[in-house]
Symmetry: C2
Subunit: 279 residues, 2 copies
Amino acid sequence: MQLIQEQKCFGGRQIRYQHDSAALNCSMQFSVFLPPQAEQGPVPAVYWLSGLTCSDENFSSKAGAQRVAAALGLALIIPDTSPRGEGVADDENGAYDLGLGAGFYVNATQAPWDKHYHMYDYVLNELPALVEAELPLNGRRAISGHSMGGHGALVLALRNPQRFVSVSAFAPISHPSDCPWGKKAFAAYLGEDRQQWAQYDASLLLAALGSQLPMLVDQGEADNFLAEQLKPQALARAGEQADAALSLRMQPGYDHSYYFIASFIEDHLRFHAEHLRGG
Amino acid sequence: MQLIQEQKCFGGRQIRYQHDSAALNCSMQFSVFLPPQAEQGPVPAVYWLSGLTCSDENFSSKAGAQRVAAALGLALIIPDTSPRGEGVADDENGAYDLGLGAGFYVNATQAPWDKHYHMYDYVLNELPALVEAELPLNGRRAISGHSMGGHGALVLALRNPQRFVSVSAFAPISHPSDCPWGKKAFAAYLGEDRQQWAQYDASLLLAALGSQLPMLVDQGEADNFLAEQLKPQALARAGEQADAALSLRMQPGYDHSYYFIASFIEDHLRFHAEHLRGG
């Protein structure tokens, strides 16, 4: 992996890397924040998955997470939201919710998407192996994300509880099998097999598998996408049935933007730090 | 003034307004953050002036200032960096450092700039009168800014010490009469009369007028523009000669970006809050 930019931030290092991804079959960029504590020894990492249209730069520049990560000694690992590059398929109409910037953290099985769109494998396996080999990380991981990335964080953690100590999300697409964004993406990437869809639906996974993982979800009540796309009630119902450690906090007045994320990112990083310190 | 967007942020309100500016002879947008304390009564305000190419949105989304402003009970008033709109003159080659996005906080005297480019009057008079009439502000003001906006903040405060209780800057263009950005802009906006230029040069103003104002300046040592464009040493020398209350802090490793601003904005807002609370 090749360092392409480094900037000092809250005493730590905000870095952008480029590498050739085997999982995605293309060149990728991602961002990392290393806190000052990483100069002394390996630190735990919080993976952040962003939402539709984002790259690794939105969270890096807008969430204010580095201040808290520097205080707590956490690295932040921030991948892009889809494969990238000229040879990578995109929606033919350039839709914002399919193709580039909209990988939905699945392993696509349908052409033309199956050639590059394997964000599930990329975030679960390739990226952690890469950064843990190259950077001062201690192998302890938590995961969080926003909207499509909140969906990704929940799915990755619920299916792989041995890989993450805790999971959180901001305004996640909680039940993608039953909302327009999810149905469109899953039909394109996975075809019509609903068994496949269920492997990428946090509400269905939580109901089917249960979970002992600590889970924190924040949802703004003034979020324009709440009723049609996000459906946190489905996740809450599955969590109750499974007796999961899910804390769903409805936040009055907050919308879907980074102003919402910035307002509560400290709570999420402190939640993860508590679990990352244990063990 | 017309509210065009409002988003909840750290318990307060991040708002974007549009209005017809008499000083600038065009329609303008600006952003405001009102802290939760503004629900109970009028609060003091910190004016923030942004740098080249910025609008009111860069500081709003990238500096992380709302968290601290909410904790301290400060409003943030964030104007654009130049007049805007189709009828407003721009550099004929679209240069980033002249015309749109590059108003340099002066009152232009030269055609074609003199028709709209009166950012000095706009920030000093029209904008405060407008927001203090319409919003819960108590009339106590501090001012800060970055790069071109740090220049603007220093010039406005040094020439009008009765209007601001304190001034700060991040990587200000400290001696614009003697750097490429400043010479280009001043020649265009003000012509070749160096007496005019001196009215907008913080180092010359501080040497000529002195100052009792509390002044805080942060400058990254890894800032690419430091030696050629920013020249904080000129300001420091003038401050020493004038026995001014100037604290210039050189910050090792930091560059010119918002990661630098975000890392130290809390110090600046706490500095201003201390002075805004007095009197």
